[in-house]
Each structure stands twice: as structure tokens, then as C-alpha cells.
């Protein structure tokens, strides 16, 4: 053989070999185990989509290892190219395996059971005498088998038949394997055409579903059409309830849903586990917090008057999260020099006083005479973010405490009596509201995935539990009428089949109106 023809052959051969390899059960098995191994890695290394802070922390503490992980995509295993590769190969393998199997099953389902030549050669064999003619006996056996859900084929030449049962096993297996492909379709379609993001709404405000109104990043699918619904959500009230231990009991956002023209559609309570669905988007309760309403006036002119969502400060080891004050910033870029007010909210002033007096942190379960500690900075605002503050180019000019309904002078840090005239701008803590954060998501693939999941379960049951049985019956003339010869074998659950077979042989010989077969002349053998 020349070397060129050898290489040409080997290209064909290698394609065929790859295909054969993909089709083999062993490949599927190894890919499944690889998928499991990759997932283990993903659960041990902090993942950016799930916990970005922990991933960043890991990078800080292990710079070398972290860099290696970063290159290998180990901080986002489930979005990495190699995880996708394993999944794709698994699905290619699955399809390669399913197509021929489906075709074969389809043919087998339509084919008639094949007649056997030597019935007594099967693993199970029994004989019974009946008083019927051979043709009658076979007809009785045929009906009995049909009643027991066997597919039966009558031998056209003899008084004989062949029967099978348990096609559901293979059909079920095919059904749930195909359903995995349906899951993939549902996931890709849903994620591809959907989006998910967070909406922060203060009590009394109305939020409109539009790109600009989302808090932070929106995760959009590759094929997302970019059209937001324009529906509105008016937050009437947010309520949270905690137990003494600080364990949350319930939180609920009482909202009014509005159609894109602003007309109210319905009122609804959104809780954890009870999202609102409207116009194809689903709105979930995600988190919540305090939003003090702050007014800043300079002379007679109000320069800031708004609810400011505060964020919860991370609790150090051993301090209950609910004992932590909340933090927020008000920036006044229009003033010269520019001004920033750094605020620390204590929703429950009793906890604040207790901590001042004894130093022990106390959980704040509700609001009670809230107070804010503030620090005023002047200089140049460099950080555009509404929630963080960079004071490197600023000087601290005053600080103080302001309670709900009271007003303070930002220049001196002193509280102002009603009607008093401040030296500089004044800050008023007019009200304490709450805000609620909603996760808003659109995923049109959910019903597809759900249907696929149900199909998987439906297919799995017969695939694992039903058993295939094959039975052949022949009736030969004897002096009393006919001798029924029955052979059979089981592909699964063979032990059970022994007894099952005996009972079946009895049933087959039992013609309606005749008694049970003559016990003395019966003969059953199992090999």
C-alpha cells in the first residue's frame, strides 16, 4: 500500500473512529464523570457569578495561584470554554447515540414478534394439556396475552404465536434521553432571549421597567431584543418582621402594578417565594434596606431633597448583622467647594445609645427614634458613584448627629431650632422610609425546561423499572385435545420471572368455562 492512499484512508478512518467513539457508551460515561469532576472544581473555588467578593479576596490572598486560576477560567467554571466543551461533547455523543437507537426502536416497535422454531430450548419452558383444539387453545392464549399487555403475533402456518412485552423500557429510556436535549433547547432559548437585573424602589416611588432604571448591571441574553415592557411598579409599603434572635420571619413589599400607560392593573404583595408576574417578566423579592429622606438647603434654596437608599455595613466577626448601622452618602456637586455628607444611620436610637454606653452591639429589629451620624467633607468630588465616597481631595469640616425631623447646620455641626438661621447649608432628616430590591427576570425557556424535566421523570420510571419478557406458545394435538407448549425468557428481573412464568403458563391453559389444567399432566421446567 502506498503511503498516500494510507493517509487518505486514515482521514476517513479517523472521522469514522471519532464518530464511533462519540457513539459509544463508554465515551458518554467518561464525559458524565468529567462533568461531575468539573463541577467539583466549580464548587470549591469561589465563582465570580455567585460570590464576586470571595473570588476577589482569593485573588488578593493567593496572587500566584489566583492568576493561574484566572487564566484557566477556574473563577467561572460553569461559564468556561472547557465546561461548555464537555457539555457540547456530551450532547453530541447523546445525539449520535440516540438517532440510531431511536430508529432501531421505531422499527422494533412496528415489527411483529418473531416466531420461534424450538420452543423447548428457551430458559423457561412449560406444558399443559387442554380440552380445546389447537387453534382454539392458541386463540385463548392470544387473548390472555393481549390482556396482559403483550404484543402478540400469530404464526400463519401453525397453531403457534410469539409475544413480547416491555417495549416501554426502551421507549422510556429514549424519551428521557431526548428530554435532555429539550432541556438544552429550553436553557439556550430562555437565557438567550431573556434578561435579569435588579430594581431598587423606595416606598412611595414608582419604578418603570426600562433599561436605565435598573440598579447596576443587567444580564441580557445574546438574542435579547432589547425591548423592556414599560410596566410600572409602585411600592406602597415595605414590611419586615424579625424574631428576637434576629432571624427574619417575613418580608413583604405591598405594590401596585401599572401597565405601560401608567394605569393601575392590580395590587399585590410580593414576598420571598411569592413573585409577581406581569407581561412576561417576573418580579421577585430580593433584599431591602433603609432610605432616609434628606433635605439640604442653602440659604432659602433647597438643593437636595430625596430618599437616599443606605446600604448595610458588613458585620465583623461576632457582631450580629442587625446591630450594624447603615451607611449612605449625599453629594452636592453644585456647591463651591463641592460638598459630600457621609451618613451613618441607626434605625433604632436605643441600640445606638446602648452601644455608646456599654460598647455592646444590639440588634435593631425595627425603627425607633432613628438617628444619623454625619460627617461633612469639602473639596473636590472625584468618585462619581452615588454610594461610595473618595475623600482624598476633600477636607473634613464638621460632624454631628441629627434625629428624625430635626435639622443641623453643616458648617458648625450644631442642631438648629425651628426657625433658626444656619451659618452654612443645613441638612434635615425629614423622614425614614424603607426601600425594597426586586430581582426582575424574563426567561421564556422556563416552561420548556419544566416540560423536559417532567418528561425525564416520566421516561425514567419505565426505563428503570419495567422489564422485557418474551414468550412463545404452540399448541400440538394430543389425545384430550391440545398440548400447550410455552417457552419464554426475561431480559430483566429474571428471578421474578420464574414465578411469573409459572403463573402465566397456568393462565394460558385456562380456557374460559374450563377448569384449571389437569395438575397431573402439567410439566414446568426452568433451566
Amino acid at each position: 500500500m502506498s503511503s498516500s492512499s494510507r493517509s487518505r484512508l486514515s482521514v476517513q478512518q479517523s472521522v469514522a473512529m471519532v464518530w464511533r467513539t462519540l457513539r459509544s457508551m463508554r465515551t458518554a460515561l467518561i464525559l458524565l464523570l468529567l462533568l461531575a469532576a468539573a463541577s467539583v472544581v466549580g464548587s470549591l473555588i469561589p465563582q465570580v457569578p455567585n460570590s464576586p467578593e470571595r473570588a476577589a479576596q482569593f485573588l488578593d490572598t493567593h496572587p500566584l495561584l489566583g492568576d493561574l486560576y484566572l487564566r484557566a477560567g477556574l473563577f467561572d467554571v460553569f461559564g468556561s470554554w472547557w465546561f461548555t466543551l464537555i457539555t457540547v461533547l456530551l450532547f453530541v455523543s447523546l445525539i449520535a447515540c440516540l438517532i440510531p437507537r431511536t430508529r432501531a426502536t421505531w422499527r422494533a416497535l412496528r415489527a411483529r414478534p418473531i416466531q420461534a422454531r424450538e420452543i423447548d430450548a428457551f430458559r423457561h419452558y412449560g406444558e399443559r394439556e387442554t380440552a380445546l383444539t389447537p387453534d382454539e387453545a392458541i386463540e385463548v392464549a392470544r387473548r390472555t396475552l393481549r390482556r396482559r399487555r403483550f404484543r402478540v403475533a400469530r404464526d400463519p402456518e401453525r397453531a403457534a404465536l410469539a409475544a413480547e412485552k416491555g417495549a416501554l423500557r426502551e421507549t422510556g429510556s429514549l424519551l428521557f434521553h431526548w428530554a435532555f436535549i429539550l432541556i438544552l433547547v429550553g436553557v439556550v432559548y430562555g437565557k438567550g432571549t431573556g434578561f435579569s437585573g435588579f430594581a431598587l424602589v423606595v416606598e412611595g416611588d414608582t419604578w418603570i421597567d426600562a433599561q436605565a432604571n435598573y440598579d447596576g448591571q443587567i444580564r441580557t441574553g445574546r438574542f435579547f431584543d432589547g425591548e423592556f415592557t414599560g410596566v410600572g411598579l409602585h411600592l406602597n409599603e415595605f414590611e419586615s418582621a424579625f424574631r428576637e434572635t434576629g432571624q427574619p420571619m417575613d418580608f413583604v413589599s405591598r405594590v401596585e402594578l401599572l401597565d405601560p400607560s401608567g394605569t393601575p392593573i392590580r395590587s399585590q404583595d410580593i414576598r420571598v417565594n411569592h413573585p409577581a408576574k406581569i407581561e412576561g417578566i417576573t418580579i421577585y423579592q430580593s433584599s431591602f434596606g433603609w432610605a432616609p429622606v434628606i433635605r439640604v438647603a442653602d440659604g432659602g434654596r433647597v438643593i437636595f431633597d430625596d430618599a437616599v437608599p443606605f446600604s448595610r455595613q458588613e458585620a465583623p466577626e461576632g457582631v450580629p448583622q442587625l446591630a450594624m448601622p447603615w451607611r449612605g452618602v449625599v453629594k452636592l456637586p453644585s456647591l463651591r467647594p463641592q460638598v459630600a455628607i457621609d451618613l451613618e444611620l441607626w434605625p433604632d436610637s436605643r441600640a445606638f445609645l446602648e452601644q455608646l454606653r456599654t460598647g455592646t452591639p444590639v440588634a435593631m429589629l425595627t425603627s425607633f427614634d432613628p438617628v444619623m451620624r454625619y460627617t461633612v467633607y469639602e473639596g473636590r468630588l472625584t468618585d462619581p458613584s452615588p454610594v461610595s465616597l473618595d475623600v482624598r481631595l476633600m477636607d473634613k469640616t464638621a460632624s454631628g448627629i441629627v434625629g428624625a425631623g430635626t435639622r443641623a447646620d453643616l458648617a458648625t455641626g450644631k442642631l438648629l431650632e425651628d426657625g433658626a438661621t444656619p451659618v452654612g447649608p443645613s441638612v434635615t432628616f425629614t423622614d425614614l422610609k424603607q426601600y425594597s430590591v426586586f430581582q426582575v427576570a424574563k426567561d421564556r425557556g422556563v416552561p420548556i425546561v419544566l416540560v423536559a424535566a417532567i418528561l425525564i421523570l416520566l421516561g425514567l420510571l419505565p426505563a428503570l423499572y419495567s422489564s422485557r419478557r418474551k414468550v412463545w406458545v404452540r399448541a400440538v394435538p394430543s389425545e384430550g385435545g391440545a398440548r400447550l407448549q410455552v417457552g419464554g425468557f426475561a431480559l430483566q428481573r429474571k428471578v421474578q420471572f420464574e414465578e411469573e412464568f409459572d403463573r402465566l403458563v397456568d393462565a394460558l391453559a385456562q380456557a374460559p368455562g374450563h377448569g384449571p389444567a389437569d395438575a397431573e399432566r402439567e410439566k414446568v421446567r426452568t433451566r
Binding site: 460515561l29 461531575a36 455567585n50 460570590s51 432571624q247 430580593s286 424535566a453 420510571l461 428481573r493 429474571k494
Partner: protein, 316 residues
């Protein structure tokens, strides 16, 4: 009765259950050692008594907390222990008529309960809002049923690997004595080797019994049947969990550590089911996969809840 009284009844019944299981375990091992029917009957009766106490403890816990008694790790462990013992008595002794494995199943439940009462105990109380859902109740129930059956399957698999090894050693010894071919017969491509009487053409069983355990082929089959029973239940648990996640968090799947590990467990057992239908992977190799699945299950159950952070960690 008051919450406190119910809580006390629950704790007392827990102790009765734990010590009954311990006594029954000793009894079953004594039965293994001495082979007396009387010992087995007593051990079995004690195990049933433990089962009853375990059930009372769980019910009283529910009455104390005014909710379903499966809301935290301690309660999951009580249910797990109950279902492993019940599963053993019903499936292994009831269906497969094997009495030699009781000590091992009981040992698992004793350890589970000991860990629960030492490290995981919390008083009865209401659920956090995220756990207060219809689907979570279904999801947890299915997950515990699946876990207990996988655990039982894992225990039988360990015994299979042990027994298989002993039988191999026996075969080698016999081979050395008389060079007649002992191995032989083919295994049906479509099905696992079947039970005792039928397994005459399988390697290993042509010998007389090796030791006190049932033949390896029998153990292999029982393990397979139990795992095949558990697999759809686990699948359902994962699906129910996804439905719950969709309602609570707005996404049915997010690779949260608990989700990831239940997926890993599921994938490994799916691998096991495939391995049994793959030539060259039957027997020891597939049993090792089941064993890895068992370890993954324990990680899903303990490590993820206790050490790996995630949205699920408030389920503690």
C-alpha cells in the same frame, strides 16, 4: 400540650431511638458472629422499637415547632436515620431476605443521629421565609428519601466490594489447588447479574459461601436495585428544588454550592447506571463509581450545608 413539653418528648424519644439502634446494631453483629436465629429476632425487634421511637421523636418535633419537622440539619438527620433503618428492614430484609447486613445499616443511622445531636442540634422554631414554601417541603422530603436510599445502596456497595475481594482471593486459592476452570458463563448484556439462585452462571457464586456475608453477586444486585430506586427520587428532588429556586430567587439553576453538589451526586449515579450497561465497567468498576457517588452524597449533605457558603446555607 405546650411547645416545651412536645420538645421534651421529642428529645426523649430521640434518645430512646438512638440507644435502640445502637443495641440493635450490636445484636445484628452478634447475629453475624454466632448465626443464631434468636439473636436476629431480638435485634430486629429492638430495631423496630427504635424505629417507632424515631418516628415519635420526629412527630413531636413537628408539634413543638408547629410546622413540618424537616426544616434544619438536625431534623433532616433524624429523618435520614429513620429512613435508612426502615429502608433496610423493608427492602433488604423484606424483599431480598438478607439478614446479615442489618448491623451496617444501623451503624449508619447511629452515626447520623450521634452527629446530629452533638453538632447540629437546634431547638424547634419557625422556618426562615425562604424555606416557607410548598415546594421546599416536597423538595426536602424527596431529597431525604433519595439520600437515605442512596446511602443504603452505598452501604451495600461497600459490602459488595469487600465480599467480591474475598471471593476473588478464594478463587485464586482454589485455582492454585485444582486448575479446573471456575470462571465461565456470560453475563447478559442488557441486565445486571440477577439474584441468588439465578446467578449460578456468574463468577463467584459457583463457590460455596465465602464468610458470613451474602455472595457478592447478590450484594451487587441489591445495591443496584436500591440505587435504581433512589435515582428517580433524587432526580425529582433536584427538579423540585429547581422549581423552588425559580420561585424564590428568580432562576431555576444558578450553580449555588448545594445545587452544584446535588448535580454532582446525580451525575455520578447516572454514571453508575451507565457503567452497569457498559461492557468492561460492570462489577467492581461500577461499584467504585457508586461508592464515589456515596461520598458525593455525604458532601452534599454535610459539607455544603456546614462549610461551603451559598444561598442554601441558611438551611442550617
Amino acid at each position: 400540650m405546650t411547645t416545651l413539653e412536645w420538645a421534651r418528648i421529642s428529645n426523649d424519644a430521640f434518645n430512646v431511638a438512638l440507644f435502640s439502634y445502637l443495641a440493635a446494631m450490636v445484636g445484628y453483629f452478634a447475629f453475624l458472629a454466632f448465626g443464631r436465629d434468636r439473636i436476629w429476632k431480638i435485634a430486629r425487634a429492638v430495631a423496630f422499637a427504635g424505629l417507632a421511637a424515631n418516628l415519635v421523636s420526629i412527630a413531636a418535633r413537628g408539634l413543638a415547632a408547629h410546622r413540618v419537622p424537616w426544616g434544619n440539619m438536625y431534623e433532616y438527620s433524624c429523618l435520614l436515620a429513620l429512613l435508612v433503618v426502615a429502608g433496610y428492614l423493608v427492602i433488604v430484609e423484606g424483599v431480598y431476605k438478607q439478614r446479615a447486613l442489618g448491623g451496617f445499616a444501623l451503624m449508619f443511622s447511629v452515626l447520623t443521629m450521634a452527629v446530629a445531636v452533638s453538632f447540629l442540634y437546634v431547638g424547634p422554631g419557625p422556618l426562615v421565609p425562604a424555606l416557607n414554601s410548598y415546594w421546599i417541603k416536597i423538595h426536602v422530603q424527596a431529597a431525604i428519601w433519595g439520600s437515605s436510599l442512596f446511602a443504603l445502596g452505598g452501604i451495600v456497595t461497600i459490602l459488595y466490594l469487600f465480599q467480591d475481594r474475598r471471593e476473588r482471593v478464594r478463587i485464586d486459592v482454589l485455582r492454585a489447588e485444582q486448575p479446573a476452570p471456575i470462571m465461565g458463563g456470560s453475563i447478559d448484556m442488557h441486565a445486571p447479574p440477577d439474584l441468588v439462585g439465578d446467578a449460578s452462571d456468574e463468577p463467584g457464586t459457583s463457590l460455596e459461601r465465602t464468610g458470613v456475608l451474602p455472595p457478592a453477586a447478590t450484594l451487587d444486585l441489591i445495591a443496584y436495585r436500591i440505587i435504581a430506586f433512589a435515582f428517580p427520587i433524587w432526580t425529582f428532588a433536584v427538579i423540585a428544588g429547581a422549581i423552588w429556586a425559580q420561585e424564590a430567587w428568580g432562576r431555576y439553576w444558578g450553580w449555588d454550592p448545594k445545587e452544584t453538589w446535588s448535580f454532582i451526586t446525580w451525575t455520578i449515579f447516572a454514571g453508575y447506571l451507565h457503567a452497569r450497561a457498559t461492557s468492561g465497567w460492570r462489577g467492581r468498576k461500577s461499584a467504585v463509581i457508586a461508592l464515589v457517588g456515596f461520598v458525593a452524597l455525604l458532601i452534599t449533605y454535610y459539607a455544603v450545608n456546614l462549610w461551603i457558603v451559598g444561598l442554601h446555607s441558611y438551611a442550617k
